[in-house]
């Protein structure tokens, strides 16, 4: 929730351009996990990526951090094409970008002590000179994520899901990255712990001026932490706009359906809430679709002949808002 100030020209930290990521290309079991997506992440912002299970969110994150080689398309980090990073610069790239993994039970090596898990990055990047310094840094990181220092010599199986997730966060923070991909860091956790982890991530962001790609499968939590949100479905981006815009003025029917699934702590609303299902057959009418800017900063995956409709809807939101005496953009 930091720099959303639009007067200041903002630096694009990550640029994803026409990224395609197919698994087993050309084989009968080909999966188009990502099918031509483009977006930018500005320095200092939290970019939320939302979509249902299997929509390609983790794959997007993993492509950006170069765990996969893209089938086609380009990913720029700090202006540099990540697929062309030379071997000797690779280590530096690995330090600047980190990932918090989705499954707290699979993301920690069961045979390593917590301190060695957290210090792995310190060792690889030679960030500490000796064992005392290493232990001190590990304790500092444990402290930062709210764990106690006697946890350092224990093994992951002795921890709860939330504690493990925090160990994963400490590991990512150890190398002082600029950009962190948080792959559903909270979806495997209890609701009570979700808030703790989200707050932790926000505090750290403010302290260290981090940029986040925050992946989640429902909108309820992301909208609090994200500056902008992209909605993903079947490997494509359906809608991309500022968090409030997506939440309050959704344009694409898929986003509307996602929103209709979000429960609100409002009994009157809940009584009348009905889920609208998304019928993806509207995508298969052979009209070429791309992300189109409907109102400034609000993009929708649309064909040329649908633009007018979306614009009309956007217009309607604008009227509703002005009827209430508010501008839609800072509602």
């Amino acid at each position: 929730m930091s720099a959303t100030n639009s007067d200041r020209p903002r630096k694009k930290l990550v640029q994803v351009q026409h990224l395609k990521q197919y698994f087993n290309p050309g084989k009968p079991n080909e999966v188009k996990a990502i099918d031509d997506i483009s977006f930018d992440i500005y320095e200092g912002e939290t970019f939320g990526l939302v979509g249902e299970s299997g929509s390609g969110k983790s794959t997007t994150g993993r492509s950006i951090i170069r765990l996969y080689n893209p089938t086609s398309g380009k990913i720029l980090f700090d202006g540099q094409d990540i697929s062309r990073i030379k071997h000797r610069d690779m280590l530096e790239f690995r330090r600047e970008m980190q990932m918090i993994f989705q499954d707290p039970y699979a993301s920690l090596n069961p045979r390593m002590k917590v301190k060695d898990i957290i210090a792995e990055g310190l060792d690889v990047h030679h960030l500490v000179k000796n064992d005392q310094e290493r232990d001190a840094r590990v304790n500092e990181l444990l402290n930062l994520v709210g764990l106690s220092r006697d946890h350092a010599t224990r093994y992951p199986h002795e921890f709860s899901g939330g504690q493990r997730q925090r160990i994963g966060i400490a590991r990512a923070l150890a190398v002082q990255p600029r950009f962190i991909i948080a792959d559903e860091p909270i979806s495997a956790l209890d609701v009570s712990i979700q808030a703790q982890v989200v707050n932790l991530l926000r505090e750290i962001q403010q302290e260290q001026n981090l940029t986040y790609l925050f992946i989640a499968h429902d909108l309820s939590m992301v909208k609090y932490i994200s500056d902008r949100i992209a909605v993903m479905h079947n490997g494509r981006l359906m809608e991309l706009a500022a968090a409030d815009e997506v939440y309050n003025h959704p344009l694409h029917p898929y986003t509307k359906s996602l929103l209709s699934a979000v429960p609100r702590p409002d009994p009157m609303y809940e009584r009348s809430r009905h889920r609208t299902d998304y019928d993806d057959s509207i995508e298969f009418d052979n009209h070429p679709r791309t992300l189109q800017e409907i109102v400034p900063g609000h993009f929708v995956f649309a064909a040329a002949d649908e633009l007018a409709d979306y614009q009309a809807t956007a217009e309607k939101y604008l009227h509703e808002a002005s009827a209430l005496g508010k501008s839609p953009l800072n509602a």
């Binding site: 993993r62 951090i65 765990l67 690779m90 280590l91 690995r94 330090r95 970008m97 980190q98 990932m99 993994f101 989705q102 499954d103 699979a106 993301s107 920690l108 090596n109 069961p110 045979r111 390593m112 792995e120 990055g121 690889v124 990047h125 709210g146 764990l147 106690s148 006697d150 946890h151 010599t153 224990r154 093994y155 002795e158 921890f159 504690q163 994963g168 590991r171 190398v175």
Partner: protein
């Protein structure tokens, strides 16, 4: 429901904060920290068969280590005069009296052969008068040597082969797997017989044959497990941190493969021991004067009906070794992987 709610009046005072700020106490784990191995060993200790096997093997290994420097008498020295003496231990334990049943009468063979008083052959002698106990010690030592070499091949070829094949994937994996298929389609026996064309029969050709085929099962198991391990998020995390593939193998893959490695080694040792015994038994293994469990069995088998002790003891030795290794391997598998057990 609503009646209950009416009766039960809740005010903020009805609630008490339970150490919510006391995170240290909350997060404290009080159980002693057990590493994975300590835990596995604790489980192994509950398995009686495995523990007995372990101690039996320990004794057997000790005996064969001793045999490198010392045996009761020279295992290859022949005393034709003392041929086919039955087992004898000084103080007349039944079965070890030095007497044999000849035509329905018990005869003291030692007296007949004029063996000086005080000279005993604990397990008797063979048809050339060689001390069977010394030969058995040497034979067991040889078997364990074969077992060690099998372990060595498993670890030096099988494990790296499997890790590289699984980790690299793609074409590398395809080619490496085709090679394995070709090798494993040739029966071991054929390989040994082909070796006989190049080498004289003996330890050398057995070792080469094992080196060609013995590590295949290990390589396959390790590859399959590497394939699943490499998609684990902690391995991905190591990659995103910038860990080199070699370090990933040593820090992440091998520790997590260790139970498979240990268990598979425990299974391939008896297989190799049996392989050597079998080759020696049919006469293309360890050549004549040297003792191995296979040659002892083969010699003993020729006179089994008249002098059964010549075969009983080597047969018992090989059986105990095989069973002990297999039971220990089973126990280790259950200890390392409690899920498969229950």
């Amino acid at each position: 429901m609503s009646e209950q709610a009416d009766k039960l009046e809740l005010t903020p005072d009805s609630f008490k904060r339970v150490g919510a700020n006391d995170t240290d106490a909350q997060e404290k784990i009080s159980a002693p920290s057990l590493t994975f191995f300590q835990d596995a060993i604790r489980r192994l200790k509950q398995n009686k068969a495995a523990i007995i096997s372990f101690w039996l093997l320990a004794i057997i290994i000790l005996i064969s280590i001793v045999s490198i420097w010392w045996t009761p008498s020279d295992p290859n020295a022949q005393h034709v005069a003392y041929a086919n003496l039955p087992p004898k231990i000084g103080n007349g334990i039944p079965g070890f009296t030095g007497q044999a049943n000849v035509g329905g009468q018990l005869v003291d063979k030692y007296a007949q052969a004029n063996v000086p008083k005080g000279t005993y052959y604990i397990l008797g002698t063979d048809y050339l008068g060689r001390d069977l106990f010394s030969r058995l010690m040497k034979g067991i030592a040889l078997s364990l040597l074969i077992g060690m070499l099998a372990t060595l091949f498993d670890l030096m070829i099988g494990v790296p082969y499997g890790i590289i094949s699984g980790w690299r994937g793609g074409h590398t994996d395809t080619i490496m797997q085709r090679i394995i298929e070709i090798i494993s389609s040739i029966p071991n026996l054929v390989v040994v017989i082909l070796m006989l064309l190049l080498f004289t029969p003996g330890l050398g050709s057995i070792v080469v044959a094992m080196g060609i085929t013995g590590w295949i099962t290990m390589a396959r198991l390790i590859r399959a497990e590497t394939l699943t391990l490499k998609t684990q998020e902690y391995v991905l995390a190591a990659r995103t941190i910038g860990e080199s593939p070699f370090k990933i193998a040593t820090k992440h893959l091998i520790p997590n493969l260790s139970s498979t490695i240990i268990i598979q080694t425990m299974f391939s040792i008896p297989t190799a021991i049996f392989f050597e015994a079998f080759l020696s038994f049919i006469g293309i293994g360890i050549p004549a004067p040297n003792a191995s469990l296979g040659t002892l069995l083969s010699d003993g088998q020729k006179t089994f009906r008249f002098l059964p002790y010549q075969m009983w003891y080597p047969a018992a030795a090989i059986s105990i070794i095989m069973i002990a290794f297999n039971l220990l391997a089973d126990g280790l598998r259950d200890a390392f992987d409690p899920k498969t057990n229950n």
